[in-house]
Structure formats: C-alpha cells, structure tokens
C-alpha cells in the first residue's frame, strides 16, 4: 500500500537530510507506529505520502501509484484516498460536528443525499452519537479528535495517516482514541501513526518503525516503543 524505495529528502534550507535512504513497505490493512524523537523525520515521512513534499532521491509508491509520475492536478484524487489526523485537530470552529465531517465530502462534490446518509454513520463509529449538533468548543479534546478522525474517515480512505493524534490528549482519553483507530484499521484501512507515546505503542503491540536522524533504525512487527525513551 505504501512503499518507500531508498527515499532521501533534503529541505532546501537545511544541510542535514530529513530522511536519509529510507526503504519501508507497508501492506494493505497494516497498523504501523512511526516512532522517534522530534526532528527524526516522522512528519516528513507522512508529508511524502501525501505528496506535500517531493523526495530528493528515491521513489514513493502509494496505493499502487508512483508519486513522482503523478501529475499535480491528480494529487487531490490521491488525497481522497488518504485520511489525515493531526495533533491540533484542525476543526472548523464555526461548524458543528456534523458540518465539520460533512465539509470533507462537500468540498469534493459528493451529493447531499449521500452526505446525509454517511455522516451520522461515521459520527457514530467514532463514538460521538448524540453530539452531532455540538460546536467544537463545547467538546473535550478527546471528543474533538474523534470528530477529526470521523472527518478523515468519512470518505472511506484506504490509508489513514495520524500525526501525534494523542499528543494533546490525556492518557485515559488516548486509549479511547486508539480504540477508534483500531476499529478503523479493522475495516481494512491501513493506518500509519506517528507518535511519542510509549505507553500506547507498548499496549497496542503493532508494527513499529523507529526513525532517528532520518534513518530507519528499527522495523519490528508487534514491537514496543523501545528502551531508549
């Protein structure tokens, strides 16, 4: 589903590469933790999948497509197959839960009848039934992140990328978020989650890819966060 072939990324303003010769293969339906200290290249890894950045060297394949050969105007279609969740939720403060989720479908031109049908389903899937009319500022951090996950998942993407989704959430609430991500993973969606949260990684026992200074120093199935942290 996601293939990195010897990928190096050097940002124009920096000498040190953000990623250095990374080769990774993520299969369909896998759940992968991307761990490593800040600046180790986790975010760059995710941005390369979205084609927000282009690799300096090497190839990235996502959902069977070579991103280097993907023309710019087709990038939106790639992104429709990838859901994204961030540490800061990125909800629209002037829209309620339903509207926030529906926004993702509206802007890719889905018909209204379809939106009315699927949005409540997804809101329920992330455990927010009965809260569809709430505004983001009326929700807890955990609940806001569930809205963000619902929005990322509502178009049934093949891949879900999560960049520190529990970074702003207390540990007890984080478990709930992880359950939602796990549920999504069980529907066959490939999940790639960058995180610092050792407790979560250790409890889930999923594949762990550890980055340090832009290089993969560990790729372990059913792994833990690691002793060093």
């Amino acid at each position: 589903m996601i293939q990195f072939e010897n990928v190096t990324k050097v940002y124009p303003t920096q000498k040190r590469p953000a990623l250095n010769g990374v080769s990774v293969d993520v299969d369909k339906g896998e759940f992968v933790f991307l761990v490593g200290p800040s600046g180790s290249g986790k975010s760059t890894f995710l941005r390369l999948i979205l084609k927000e950045e282009k690799p300096t060297k090497g190839r990235v394949h996502v959902a069977g497509k070579d991103l280097a050969r993907l023309s710019n105007w087709k990038v939106p279609h790639l992104r429709r197959r990838i859901g994204c969740v961030f540490q800061d939720f990125r909800l629209l403060p002037n829209k309620n839960v339903f509207e926030n989720v529906a926004f993702a479908l509206e802007v890719i031109g889905k018909p209204r009848r379809f939106i009315r049908k699927v949005v409540p389903e997804v809101v329920e899937l992330v455990g927010l039934e009965g809260k569809g009319d709430r505004m983001p500022d009326e929700l807890s951090g955990g609940e806001q992140q569930r809205v963000a996950i619902a929005r990322a998942f509502v178009n049934r993407p093949q891949i879900l990328l999560a960049d520190e989704p529990t970074g702003n959430i207390d540990p007890a609430t984080s478990i709930g978020i992880m359950k939602v991500l796990d549920r999504i993973n069980r529907t066959g969606t490939t999940v790639v989650m960058a995180t610092h949260d050792a407790a979560i990684v250790d409890s889930m026992r999923k594949r762990v890819i550890e980055l340090e200074d832009g290089e993969v120093i560990r790729d372990q199935s059913r792994g833990v966060y690691g002793q060093a942290y």
Partner: protein, 302 residues
C-alpha cells in the same frame, strides 16, 4: 452541484473584508467609468469627424478695397476677370464638387444670421467688411490642400480658409480629453488590480484553515480557488454595473452637450452605448478574476 456551498463561501468572504470590498468596487467603478467615457468620446468624435468631413467646405475670400493683406494691396481688389477665371478653374478641378459665389451682400447677410445672438458684433460691422467669396464643396475633403495651394497665389485671392482647420482644433481638445480619461483609467485599473490582489490575499489568509482542510481531504484546485475567483469576479461585476451608470450619464450629459456645440446631427446609437458598457463590464470582470487568480497562485499553494 454544490452551488449553495460556493455561494455561501463567497458571501462570507465579501462580508468579512467589507471595507476592502468597498474600496475595490469603488476603484473598479471609477476606472471603468473613465474607460467607458474615453471610449464614448472616441466614438463620438470620430462620428462627428466623419459627419463634418462630408460637409466641410473651403471658403476663398477675394480681395476688396479694404483688404489689409500684402497680397491684396500689391494686386489691388479682385477684378471681374479674376473672379470669372477663378470660378472657371475651380469648376474644372476634379477635386471640386460644387462652387458657389457669395457676393458681399449675401456674405453680410449670412454673417448677420450667424451672429444674431451677438448684436454688438453685428452692429460693429457693415456691408462690405465681409469680402465676397467662393464656397467650394470638395468631392474628397482630404484633398483640400491641393485645392488650397492651387488658388492661394492667384491675383485677387485674399485668403483661403478651411473649416477643417477650425474643427481640428476642437477635435484635438476632445482627443486630449479622451486620452486623459483613458490614461487615468489605466492607472486606476492598475490600482484596482493591486487592491483586488490584496483583498483576495486577506480573504485567503482568513480562510486558510478551511482551504488547508480542503487541500487535505482532496478538494480539487479548481474547487478551492473558485470561491476566491468568483469573489473577485463579483467585485468586478458590481464595479462594472456602477460604472455603467456613469457611462450612461456621460452619454446623456457630456456628449449631448458636445453635439449641441457642433450642430452635428450625429447621435451615438444605443447599440454603441451598450457595446461600450458591455466592454467595460467584461473588462472589469476579467481584470478582477485574473488579478485574483494571479494572487491565489502566490498565496494559496495547492
């Protein structure tokens, strides 16, 4: 299909930057009004030129006893022989359509009629002050110089005056007016384009959260940019509509005045007026949309 969504986005964008929107619309309206006025003046003047070119005549004044010019004093007043040979030669010229002899009495009467509203001028003049003359109608008005030169130095000819010289001076004035309007219009249009750029930039900045999410969930570039482009287009359209009002006013106040001065029955048709309005509105919409588009390319990375 999501027209409602796009329209509400535009409305929000225009309202959020209300002061900028007003500034843009005002600038666009002024510049388009000047542009339209310039175009109208241009059309009016060329229509009047055409009108007068067909009717323009040369007047050849003959020497009289009292003619002050050197040529007349040397040769004395025009004799009957001078006059007859001149008339015969004029008639023989292929450029000349018709020749009419106006004797002093008729010239004096004509003068009285023309200046009937300036009694003092009429009273200060007597019969004989206006020399007898030939009114020469040209077949091709552009050939007037040749006719003028061929009769200029003949004995008995005082001076040759061409209506065109007088009219040209006025037309030059209107040409100046036209260019002034167009130049100010261009400067204003440039300012309008910059203002629109700024407005769209503000708009894009205040909606960066939305556009960021749109990008993320895979909205097409066109879909992301459309509300901004339409925002610009609507500013241009409103500005154009306001400008149309000014253009219509120009037509009915300024141009009708000009026509009164010139006694030319050349009224601009409604079609010409509509085409100028149409051009101005289209120019406004295009300019605003293009300015928005160029701004978006810089500030809304998709």
């Amino acid at each position: 299909m999501r027209a409602q969504f796009v329209l509400s986005e535009i409305w929000i964008g225009l309202r959020r930057n209300l002061t900028m929107t007003v500034a843009v619309i005002t600038t666009v309206a002024i510049s388009l009004a000047l542009f339209g006025a310039g175009m109208l003046i241009n059309q009016q003047v060329s229509a009047m030129r055409g009108y007068w070119d067909e009717r323009i005549s040369i007047t050849i004044y003959l020497c009289t006893e009292s003619s002050p010019s050197k040529h007349c004093i040397e040769n004395g007043p025009a004799t009957d022989e001078d006059r007859n040979s001149l008339q015969a030669d004029l008639k023989a010229m292929p450029e000349v359509a018709s020749v009419e002899y106006v004797d002093q009495a008729a010239a004096w009467e004509d003068f009285q009629n023309r200046f009937s509203n300036r009694q003092a001028l009429v009273e200060a003049t007597q019969e004989g002050d206006i020399p007898d003359n030939f009114r020469v109608q040209l077949a091709d008005p552009s050939k007037y110089e040749r006719v003028q030169q061929s009769v200029q130095d003949r004995p008995g000819v005082d001076m040759v005056s061409n209506d065109k010289d007088v009219l040209d001076r006025f037309f030059e004035l209107f040409d100046g007016l036209k260019w002034a309007a167009l130049i100010v219009a261009v400067v204003q249009l440039a300012a309008a384009a910059l203002l629109i750029g700024n407005t769209i930039r503000l708009s894009a900045y205040s909606r960066r959260r939305e556009t960021g999410i749109m990008r993320l969930v895979g909205a097409s570039n066109f879909y992301i940019q459309l509300p901004f482009l339409l925002e610009g287009a609507i500013c241009g359209l409103i500005g154009g509509v306001i400008a149309s009002g000014f253009i219509v006013a120009t037509r009915f106040f300024l141009l009708d005045k000009i026509q009164d001065w010139f006694y030319s029955g050349v009224e601009l048709s409604t079609g010409a007026l509509l085409s100028v309005i149409g051009m101005s509105v289209i120019l406004g919409v295009l300019l605003c949309t293009i300015a928005s588009f160029l701004t978006l390319r810089r500030y809304l990375r998709v």
